[in-house]
Symmetry: C2
Subunit: 232 residues, 2 copies
DNA sequence: AACCGTTTCAAACAAGCGTTTTATCTCCGA
DNA sequence: TCGGAGATAAAACGCTTGTTTGAAACGGTT
């Protein structure tokens, strides 16, 4: 398993211009997303990538290393395509920043285009964490979580007359926001069975984002006002 | 696969008082929840149930049939333990009914006690639907979804001056509620890494339910008031 | 005690899997 | 032209898996 392999000094040849390698990562992303880590077979991946089964060992070492590459790669791609503060002017207020955060999170997790397996991969990581989740949280999720926390805190302060909010209250409101967004990726199979004419095109997702933003702002404002009353 | 097996007239001997069968279902629930359908091995299940590997073929037919039994069984158990209208008096108003719904949903999905694998199994079904999901939605999820829909509709009407609400608006609010609840089961691995001192004991879950209810009532009220303004 | 349907058991089977091996191909510099 | 490193290919290996087999154990009835 962990025995140093004898052929190369390092698993990934740092050489650039590696066509097969890129094809493998892309194909693996689709297969891992569709079937899950365990059910995905390297044979299936290699057929899609038009490569030999041995190519995975040659380029990545083993299946798990390939999976880690795919996970990192898909997160980077998704964050580049849907940055968390997309289309936001510099002096945007908390409400606008929350809207932008929600919109980008929704688009990022619901995107189903080819090679956009990020949402499904993340979902699987949460349903069944792999050793790669630790790094994923540290480098990908924690920054987003803290960004949302600061947005919610600003909103919260706004509605509680400048009083510093309890971290626990802010955290719960932030979780309410994320929950509403991620739900649509998670429950998609159920919602499709419940509402057969369900669609997630660009317009629908944008409207959904608007709803979640309105719903959440009202919720945060309400929680802040309660806090103002009870703390006085 | 589907060939009629030649030994018995029917796979499940309808005989009651079958001890091994019950042990198998219980052990299988734990293993399927922990490892997932694919990664769970019938050998592991049978060791935990102190049974022979052939027992699964004898009692259920095959692995998939066992899984379907486990799924149905865990849903039934969870709904019995946490009924969606627990502790609700007959003339309860919409706010109280929403609170009860949220509380029971949270407890049902977050319960981790032995043989309470319902939450994790459902999560896995949503991350990777199996053929059993269709029936699960029809018999388990749809009734809950419709119950929540009627509660939200009542609340909505209350805040929009008796005007009949748009089904789409009600649906979105209901999804916002469910999303906030299910999130905590889904994101548990992430939240544990983000907030190392996270606990989900009875008190915490009850407080969480209270937060989600307050947050949601404010959100629904806000959406209803917007509708009242724009429809006039 | 003999019988018979039900249940359990140890062992084997066949398929699929990740991985490894060994050989071949492809360039490019000497 | 040769040599050799990088990359690909086909085949096989060893292991785990779900399933099946055929016999043994059990328990009640005649």
């Amino acid at each position: 398993m962990l025995a140093a392999n004898s052929r190369q000094s390092e698993h990934p040849p740092v050489d650039a211009s590696d066509e097969t390698r890129a094809r493998l990562v892309e194909a693996a992303g689709e297969v891992f997303a569709r079937r899950g880590y365990r059910s995905a077979t390297i044979r299936d991946i290699c057929i899609r990538a038009q490569a030999n089964v041995a190519a995975i060992h040659y380029h990545f070492g083993d299946k798990e290393a390939l999976y880690n590459h795919v996970l990192r790669d898909s997160l980077k791609t998704a964050l580049k395509q849907y940055p968390p503060s997309a289309g936001l002017s510099d002096g945007a207020n908390a409400r606008e920043r929350l809207r932008a955060f929600i919109r980008s999170l929704l688009f990022r997790t619901l995107d189903d285009g080819p090679a956009a397996c990020h949402g499904q991969l993340m979902l699987r990581e949460m349903a069944e964490p792999s050793p790669a989740l630790d790094e994923l949280v540290r480098q990908g999720i924690r920054p987003l979580y803290e960004l949302l926390g600061s947005i919610v805190r600003d909103l919260y302060i706004e509605y509680s007359d400048g009083r510093p909010p309890a971290p626990r209250a802010v955290r719960r409101c932030a979780q309410s926001v994320i929950g509403q967004c991620i739900y649509h990726r998670l429950a998609r199979p159920v919602l499709e069975r419940l509402l057969p004419d369900l669609k997630y095109n660009k317009n629908e997702v944008a409207e959904l984002a608007e709803h979640i933003a309105e719903f959440s702002i009202a919720g945060i404002a309400h929680c802040a006002r309660i806090a103002r009353r009870t703390r006085r």
